[in-house]
Amino acid sequence: MEVHAAFATELAAVGLAHKVALIKTGCQGICAGAPVIGIDPEGILYVGAKSEDVPEIVRTTLLGHAVVERLCFQDRRGPIPKRADVPFFAAQKQIVLERCGRIDPSSIGAALAAGSYEMLERVLTGMEPQAVIDEITTSGLRGRGGAGFPAGRKWAATRAGHDETKYLVCNADEGDPGAFMDRAVVEGDPHTVLEGMLIAAYAIGARHGYVYVRAEYPIAIEHLKIAIAQAQELGLLGENILGTGMNFDLKIKVGAGAFVCGEETALLMSIAGQRGTPRPRPPFPAQSGLWGKPTCINNVETLANVAAILRMGGAEYARLGTPTSTGTTIFALAGKVKYTGLVEVPIGVTMNQLVNDIGGGAPPGSTFKAAQMGGPSGGCVPAKYLDMPIDYETVKEVGAIMGSGGLIILDNDTCMVDLARYFMEFCAKESCGKCPPCRIGTTRMLEVLERICAGRGRPEDIASLEKLGNAVKNNSLCGLGQTAPNPALTTIRHFRSEYEAHVNEKTCPAAFCRGLIAFSILPDRCICCGRCAKNCPVDCISGQIGKAPTRATEQDREQGKVGRPYVIQSALCIKCGACLDVCPVDAVVKK
């Protein structure tokens, strides 16, 4: 924000205020390089700029037409000034994210200038609803929320519903920890979502719509409100849209903090003001959904593709990606990788390309161990599958799911057993409680995992987890329970040795689980600064501040300035790791 203000001041100071458009945009994708500045038409990208750098940028680049090298993206060969040349961007194919980060999301004028609602006009004035559905079916677009159900089929089923009243719902609940692409799209280019909804509503015959946004996304809600108001003002929403007689009203429903409400039937319950508990299907929402009416629910990313697909034609879209998983998808790259952020790629790129070519590989001191895909419903894909092309089918074969597109990179410091425990804790907490397999099963699995991580694993535990896991998977009412065991089952499948170490040898190979590790201080490295003792919550570290004995002089000894290396009392140590975090010389070790 300060950078934006600095630009405003500086541009005015040098008299360029009327010549340079200063735009506050949505996410530019390379979050690791924040704050990010894009300069067009040159296509220059600056990363990590501070407000103090602004005068130089204005002088050198805007006035001098030269590049400030130290602010460019750097790789081994040197600075890369142009966005299009940066590997993070060069490998992407941006359809959904195309305008995100280029336009001001709070201006419908900017959206219109960039092409918004052009396709809507063409559709409303020149295409039959069935033709729209056919085009989407041809494109092979699959739901991007996680399940990957063919969008065209869902639309056709809803259209076929026998009722005057139909609903279109946009699922912007994005509850998966690690996924933030829907947030970026709603914040950065809301009109692309609105246009997708309008076209979908026309195709299925819905006159009422809802966007269900999770409460944890206040900025997205704000930008959506602005976009809807602006669209209404211009006659793009409401009655008699574009003078064609189409009516469509749109309301925002804010979530209240329940992960299960990302599940379509639970989401509908929430819109209806009820506790968000799912129900069995059939009947599917397309036949009987919100208040019993035919309802089509689509994810933000799915809808954001609609206008672009119609513009390029379904067949053209289907040429991207793989035969069964067409088009592009957005991955949210996070965790132990150099360049975290959002990347949109044709489906079918390999993990290697994502992690190394685009993501820049592991940061210094880190070795790739696995990629966690699909959030708490997904699984861990280990290094041996690095060259596997990622699509809906291949991912299932290794036990994971594509899911929302969250891709968290893990390294050797991550304990896979703890990760399974972490996800199970999440699922058990978020379980709505309606069906026993999920309500009881996730709790029991969590108990076993917690015991294992605490060093109290029993020989039969791994088999128990597998048995329980399959029971929960096969008998739960909804997707939450059906996929909750995935992290545990895939980590047992691909990292069995870690489980065995925890259970049989009572050790944690990644040195993470508190019950199985011991902290100690290397006396020769200790500089007797006392920071460890000061930060220890249970006062179990003792020593004396002063000069390190190995470096003390005779004078220091005479003056009593020599310290005593610090020692941790293992019996009292709670293994919190605070000492390790604060030691300035890495004298604290854990194993």
Binding site: G178, G276, E430
Partner: protein
């Protein structure tokens, strides 16, 4: 029903009528929205306000209670002046969030879901704030603090507490 030290009879239920009117004609679909408005107004959901909401809307208070206890965002106990939300999402988890949570709970002296006795801070954990590239992240009211270490997190809270007492670090 509540075990808080705040005397509920001191709650002024006047504003509830405005909230109900804003949702007229009041239907079940307005339950969540009206509860969100109520919490926005009072900082939490006081029992007398819930009773009034039920009375004016014509729906049973059990319906409101059922919804309020299902969704994590609703609080039936008084809430602190500042809400501290430590993100426990996957990306944050692998980048040190457990350590941050540890230090924060020790600094404030409360566990997740609780409020400090001086009513200054309410601590919550959130599954994911969607700002994974800043992990580990903490949201204090509406401000995001990212790339946290234990010390940074504690410092942020110390500074915030000091701004209220005008003295040094808080408990």
């Amino acid at each position: 029903m509540t075990s808080s030290s705040v005397v509920d009879s001191s709650v002024d239920v006047g504003p509830v009528a405005e909230i109900v009117a804003a949702h007229a004609p009041f239907a079940e679909a307005d339950i969540i929205g009206s509860l969100q408005d109520l919490q926005e107004r009072y900082g939490y959901l006081p029992q007398p306000a819930l009773d009034e909401l039920a009375r004016l809307s014509g729906l049973p208070v059990a319906k409101f209670y059922g919804v309020a206890t299902f969704y994590a965002q609703f609080h039936l106990q008084p809430h602190g002046k500042h809400t501290v939300r430590v993100c426990r999402g996957t990306a944050c988890h692998v980048r040190g969030a457990p350590g941050v949570m540890d230090s924060v709970t020790r600094q404030l002296g409360v566990a997740g879901g609780e409020t400090t006795p001086d009513m200054l801070f309410s601590l919550e954990t959130v599954a994911c704030l969607g700002t994974c590239f800043l992990s580990p992240v903490m949201l204090v009211d509406n401000k995001y603090y990212g790339n946290l270490t234990r010390e940074k997190a504690v410092k942020i809270l110390e500074v915030l507490a000091a701004s209220h007492t005008g003295k040094g670090a808080a408990n």
